[in-house]
């Protein structure tokens, strides 16, 4: 069965294209109570910064229609602890780790990238230049193409594993950003991070989130993610790990149609802790129904010429 789902990407040999998205799965410990993490294609761990970070004041989450806002503020135990505790713990599972790298300054990114990429189970980095919830760095790196390109280049120089750059949807021209980081040497892209949003409390008139604004995720952002992957996948020559509102096998296929080569599931883990293994089980059945042998046949169908659709049997 799984031979219909396996995917090869720079640095990543995936049993299947399903992985939990960064920040929605911690470092795996909590969800290991529910199922064997080796079932997953990969795991994108929580953003890691040089020093431990406490993050933003609470409330840090607010619900929205078919979505949620979060302003966690990159809380994490810091590089040293992640390397000495979390990654070794994860190494008991047969699953490649994609380490999400964050920071405020260029030096921070370089420090985290060079250290964390040495860990034996880290097979790729996800350069987080798109967190909307930190005051400095983060998003600035993710909204100015030239800055993003330079950072990508510097991180590539020090990283021992392929580098995927996580794009922010909070830009006017996502294609321009994608091309810039491709120029900078990125091996792949992950997209999309959350969209900046806000909710107000009916009684007080004030923002629900202590940080005032937060990042929107969940099914509400799926159409935005699909559109952006559709545009970017036609414009660049590097693979895309797609994310944004995925909660079912059907969603996964839609992301492949848009141009993704693998996908990540974020918020849906909160709704159903078993969502990733459930999708992995359901994908082959859906492939049968749609008449595909292998999931890669779905990739980019939305924009491919008809002549290329030779695999379609239905």
């Amino acid at each position: 069965m799984s031979s219909r789902l396996n995917i090869e990407l720079p640095g990543l040999t995936l049993k299947n294209p399903i992985m939990p998205a960064s920040g929605c799965f911690g470092f795996g410990r909590e969800y290991s109570q529910f199922y064997d993490l080796s079932k997953l294609g990969a795991i994108m761990i929580k953003a890691t910064t040089v020093e431990p970070r406490f993050g933003n004041p609470t409330p840090r989450v607010a619900e929205t229609s078919s979505g949620m806002l979060n302003a966690i503020g990159l809380q994490n135990p810091g590089l040293e602890k992640v390397v000495s505790h979390e990654l070794p713990w994860l190494s008991q599972y047969d699953v490649p780790i994609i380490a999400n790298v964050a920071g405020s300054l260029e030096e921070d990114y370089i420090e985290v990238a060079s250290q964390i990429s040495k860990a034996s189970n880290v097979h790729a980095l996800e350069l987080n230049i798109s967190c909307p919830n930190v005051k400095t760095g983060g998003i600035a790196f993710g909204t100015i193409p030239e800055v993003a390109k330079q950072l990508t280049r510097k991180v590539k120089e020090v990283s021992e594993v392929p580098v995927y750059v996580k794009l922010s949807p909070n830009v006017t021209n996502i294609v321009e950003m994608a091309k810039a980081v491709e120029d900078g040497g990125a091996d792949g892209l992950t997209m999309i991070n959350t969209l900046v949003g806000m909710r107000l409390d009916l009684k007080t008139g004030k923002p629900i989130l202590a940080n005032r604004t937060g990042g929107l995720s969940g099914p509400a952002i799926k159409p935005v993610a699909l559109r952006m992957i559709y545009e970017v996948s036609q414009a660049v020559g590097i693979p895309i790990i797609g994310m944004g509102g995925i909660e079912s096998a059907e969603d996964v296929i839609e992301f492949f149609y848009a141009g993704a080569s693998a996908v990540a599931v974020g918020t849906a883990n909160f709704v159903d802790p078993f969502v990733c293994p459930t999708i992995i089980e359901e994908l082959p059945i859906l492939l049968d129904q749609l008449g595909y042998e292998h999931i890669t046949e779905c990739r980019g169908r939305s924009w491919q010429e008809h002549g290329q659709l030779t695999y379609h049997r239905a």
Binding site: C24, Y31, F54, T64, Q75, G218, T267, P273
Partner: protein, 257 residues
């Protein structure tokens, strides 16, 4: 072990204005370790509302594999929940968190249980378990107004019970803290609105006090860092506790509230 289970609703009734008592059948009842633990309920199969709702376990019936919750119908999620009748299957994740330690008090001692509004429910199972251990239990329960008062009779069966309402329409007028100051006790267990918890910690933090905290949650299992509170008196320190998986019950002074 945390389980995700489709739990059959046995009964649901409105026991005070907008206050619902919901009893369900669940195999995971045998996993419940302490009063004060909670569950995370997905109120609808759709993705709107998206997030699960955290609700405390208010009493446990191990023999019949059932447990009861008491909640206030507030917003979208709890309003949908209130419409569900017997026989319906509810998607529940639980039991979650660490509850009130019942071993911290000993036979012959007095435990004071202080609840505010929708913080009252988890104290009921606690009260039952303390009584069973031969501990004297005194309850102080605060509500907004007469129509919001619930479970007075149930608590009275276990011990002395004082009711306060903010508007004075029932019991004594004022706050729970007005009553506590005249009471003797060896330990204090409390759950309710944050200002109440703060007042109690300030006044009695030097005693043996356990507080149950509330925070907005994402995952409910410790993975998302939504429900974090500072665990040190130094605001700039990075040490933290997660309300969902380290709490919701903490010893006074353990976290900043």
């Amino acid at each position: 072990m945390i389980k995700k289970e489709l739990c059959k609703i046995i009964s649901q009734e409105e026991i005070a204005k907008d206050i619902f008592q919901l009893t369900v059948e669940a195999e995971f009842v045998k996993e419940i370790k302490a009063p004060g633990q909670f569950v995370h309920i997905r109120v609808d199969k759709s993705f709107d509302p998206l997030l699960r709702r955290p609700i405390s376990i208010s009493s446990v019936d191990s023999k019949n594999s059932r447990f009861t919750m008491i909640y206030r119908k507030e917003g979208k999620g709890t309003s949908l929940l209130a419409e569900k009748g017997p026989g319906i299957l509810l998607d529940i994740l639980g039991p979650l968190g660490n509850g009130f330690p019942v071993d911290e008090v000993h036979e012959g001692e007095t435990a004071l249980l202080v609840g505010g509004g929708i913080g009252v429910p988890p104290l009921y199972e606690l009260s039952k378990q303390l009584i069973a251990k031969g501990i004297k239990v005194v309850h102080v329960l605060g509500f907004q107004t007469e129509s919001a008062v619930f479970y007075e009779k149930e608590f009275l069966e276990n011990g002395e019970t004082y009711i306060t309402t903010v508007d004075g329409s029932y019991g004594s007028k004022g706050f729970v803290t007005d009553i506590i100051k005249d009471l003797e006790f060896d330990s204090l267990y409390t759950c309710g609105p944050t200002p109440m918890l703060k007042a109690i910690e300030k006044g009695y933090g030097h005693k043996k006090v356990f507080l149950s905290l509330e925070e907005r949650m994402g995952c409910g299992v410790g993975a998302c860092f939504a429900c974090v509170c500072n665990s040190s008196s130094d605001i700039n320190d990075v040490s933290y506790k997660k309300v969902c998986s380290d709490g919701p019950v903490f010893r006074a002074g353990e976290v900043l509230i």
